[in-house]
């Protein structure tokens, strides 16, 4: 693989219509510059002529209201002289419209604009996008509830190399007591700047979607996820990171007959929960501060042996240790698969997605003195879990309305050490029916069957759209 200098971005190789428009825009600028000089000359001339007309018409009884032949010839000669000089100036100005002998641009006026233009800051493009969803869910032994969320995303292309991505997650939090109102939960989901180094690699920093397996980076927006809820391994209490604050480099390149994509990242890392009796020993991936001057590092490699299949391997290492837990290390491994293909025999499209994550933390004793009421607690802190999802959409069905349906089945499993708080195995099957109203608007209905006695059953509806 050669690393070529970036050979011009997409705006450097544009269709001819766009080139024509740019050329036309440049021609307009030229004409405007020329026109400004022309107007400065023509303006007084026209004014002079009008003045002459007005003067001549000012007093209809004035016997001198008509110019003499001599005066007429003089005016005519003056006009011809002005035209000649104007043509000479245009010829001398050249394509830039810079008139020789014209007053030079004052410092602090045009010069900064030229510099700014070279940076391309006046060629920026903004795009507001994102997704929103409303839902209804009924979890076993809990009240049913409606939900709503709104996740706007601002994309700003500063120039062909520099790009900003920012997004918020807006949702509702239930009140702590009946007397309080629900609060709006606002979270900065993403805020990062990236720079395209060449055709095969780019670098970025900020708050970004951690490329640990493919789910959060590719599949978790509400209008892409085929079911209302995230897989157990990625949801609340999951064992995989979603976003982080740090820096990253990523890219893709052809390799033999395959396509390879790769990413490396460093973040402030997760925090180890040590004092919560219901979550001690878990990693808090919603922590974005570096608590111990130790960073998390990781990478992901994805292989696309052919266009419809991607398999990936991910790794992350961190020291999430607060004071008193200096010896605790965290190692995460993950594998993921994504396969999408039309199946002629089924007259439709099949989508298969799966991922499995292993989380290994060093052993530690939580609440060693018992002061927090649940210790001393010590256990082998190895966790793992994942999901497998299959979806079928009858895109070739004879009936048009059936083509918009999609049938989804997903298996989820999360294994927590039995001695850990909340330990045990959570296992469930989810069956769902989706209806695609448009390419980006989906109505989902799903029922989750718990496998074990303690696994809750859930019925959920969701209406989601990407904009």
């Amino acid at each position: 693989m050669e690393c070529f200098p970036y050979r011009g971005g997409p705006q450097g190789r544009v269709p001819s219509a766009r080139n024509a428009r740019h050329e036309a825009a440049g021609a307009v600028v030229e004409r405007v510059n020329t026109m400004e000089w022309r107007n400065r000359v023509y303006g007084p001339v026209v004014l002079l002529l009008l003045s002459g007309c007005v003067w001549g018409a000012a007093d209809p009884n004035d016997k001198d209201r008509y110019v003499s032949r001599q005066e007429y010839e003089a005016l005519k000669k003056q006009l011809a002289d002005v035209e000649t000089r104007l043509k000479a100036q245009e010829k001398a100005a050249g394509p830039q419209g810079q008139v020789p002998g014209a007053e030079a641009p004052q410092p602090g006026t045009t010069e900064p604009r030229r510099k700014v233009d070279r940076l391309g800051l006046f060629d920026t493009n903004l795009l507001l996008t994102g997704d929103a969803a409303v839902g209804f869910s009924k979890t076993q032994d809990q009240p049913s509830t409606f939900t709503a969320e709104f996740n706007p995303m601002l994309l700003w292309q500063l120039n062909e190399r520099l790009f900003f991505e920012g997004s918020l997650e807006l949702g509702l939090q239930g009140p702590e007591t009946n007397g309080e109102g629900s609060a709006t939960d606002v979270e900065l989901d993403l805020a990062n700047l990236t720079y395209l180094l060449n055709d095969y690699i780019l670098a970025g920093a900020g708050k970004f979607s951690v490329p640990f397996t493919a789910y959060h980076n590719h599949l978790d927006p509400t209008w892409i996820n085929k079911l209302p809820a995230d897989p157990l391994v990625y949801g609340d209490g999951g064992i995989a990171p979603d976003s982080g604050v740090g820096a990253f480099a990523t890219g893709a390149a052809p390799w033999r007959r395959m396509l390879v994509n790769y990413a490396v990242f460093v973040t402030n890392g997760p925090a180890l929960i040590t004092d919560d009796p219901q979550a001690a020993g878990s990693l808090n991936f919603d922590n974005y501060n570096d608590l111990n001057d130790n960073k998390a590092v990781g990478f992901r490699i994805g292989l696309l042996p052919f266009s419809r299949l991607e398999v990936g391997y991910s790794f992350e290492f961190s020291n999430p240790n607060p004071p008193g837990f200096e010896t605790v290390h965290s190692t995460l491994h993950g594998v993921d698969l994504n396969y999408v293909a039309p199946i002629a025999a089924l007259q439709g499209q099949l989508t298969a997605r799966a991922a499995w994550v292993w989380s290994n933390l060093s052993e530690a004793t939580y609440d060693p003195t018992g002061a927090l009421g649940f210790g001393p607690l010590r256990f082998a802190n190895d966790r793992n879990g994942g999901y497998a999802e299959l979806a079928y959409r009858p895109t070739e069905a004879a009936e048009r309305f059936l083509r918009n349906f999609e049938f989804v089945a997903r298996y989820d499993r999360l294994n927590i050490p039995a001695q850990a708080p909340g330990g045990g195995t959570q296992e469930q099957w989810t069956a769902g029916i989706d209806y695609w109203i448009t390419a980006r608007t989906i109505l989902k209905a799903a029922y989750t069957f718990g496998v074990h006695e303690n696994d809750p059953e859930v019925f959920a509806l969701q209406f989601a759209t990407g904009f």
Binding site: P15, F163, S307, T395, R400, I433, A439
Partner: protein, 225 residues
């Protein structure tokens, strides 16, 4: 554990799922029609690529062979699969004759797809001549009649434009395969050139794409909107 509070949702969901699945299977099981096809619809949820319509099509000889060449020149393979090769944004066109499509229907579909499906994003090839449309129809009908027709290839000679039709066609294929791997495809007409530049740049970062993929996909989308 009490599960009776969810029974009503469970049973209702099972009934609805069963009805829909049954209808779907019954619909998919029919491969021959007992009656002539009426105005058929195309999947509208997968935006279908369009390529530049100012392609210098080579139709000197006419017939299925010319239609095959034109199929490749126009970049139809970017979105339509023929005998296992091509894009997946649009339907597979390998069995049009077996599906009972008439020549007149196919011609109308090529010239004005919205007449059959108002929501389709397939562009209208109204500027093709009668001979060109006839050649394309002959080619499509010959596929399932002849069996193993050779899949069309993309044109090797770039036209006299800054972005060649092959680049646009390649971009269409990459768009349907790379982008379609994660999500449904937004119709190209929904965004203007500047918006697509931003969106594709975003995908360059997120997927990630190679620089060539970014340029090809953007060229296709900007040519198709």
């Amino acid at each position: 554990m009490r599960r009776t509070d969810l029974n009503q949702y469970r049973y209702a969901g099972l009934v609805v799922a069963g009805v829909v699945l049954g209808l779907t299977l019954a619909s998919c099981s029919t491969t021959e029609r007992s009656s002539p096809p009426t105005a058929q619809s195309r999947p509208t949820m997968f935006p279908i690529a369009s390529v530049s319509e100012t392609v210098d099509a080579q139709t000197s000889s006419g017939g299925a062979a010319a239609g095959q060449k034109l199929f490749g020149t126009l970049g139809c393979a970017a979105c339509h699969t023929v005998n296992g090769k091509g894009g997946t944004a649009g339907p597979d066109l390998s069995q049009e004759a077996k599906k009972g499509r008439s020549a007149s229907w196919l011609a109308a579909q090529i010239r004005n797809p919205k007449a059959h499906t108002p929501q389709t994003v397939m562009p209208a090839y109204g500027n093709l001549s009668e001979q060109q449309v006839s050649d394309l129809v002959d080619y499509l009908l010959s596929l399932s009649a002849a069996g193993a027709a050779v899949a069309p290839t993309l044109p090797g000679r770039p036209p006299a434009t800054t972005v060649s039709s092959s680049e646009v066609a390649t971009g269409g294929k990459r768009w349907s395969q790379r982008c379609g791997q994660c999500h449904n495809l937004r119709p190209p007409a929904e965004y203007d050139d500047a918006q697509w530049a931003v969106a594709v740049h975003h995908m360059r970062v997120r997927v990630p794409l190679t620089g060539a993929e970014q340029r090809d996909i953007l060229a296709f989308l900007q040519a198709s909107n």
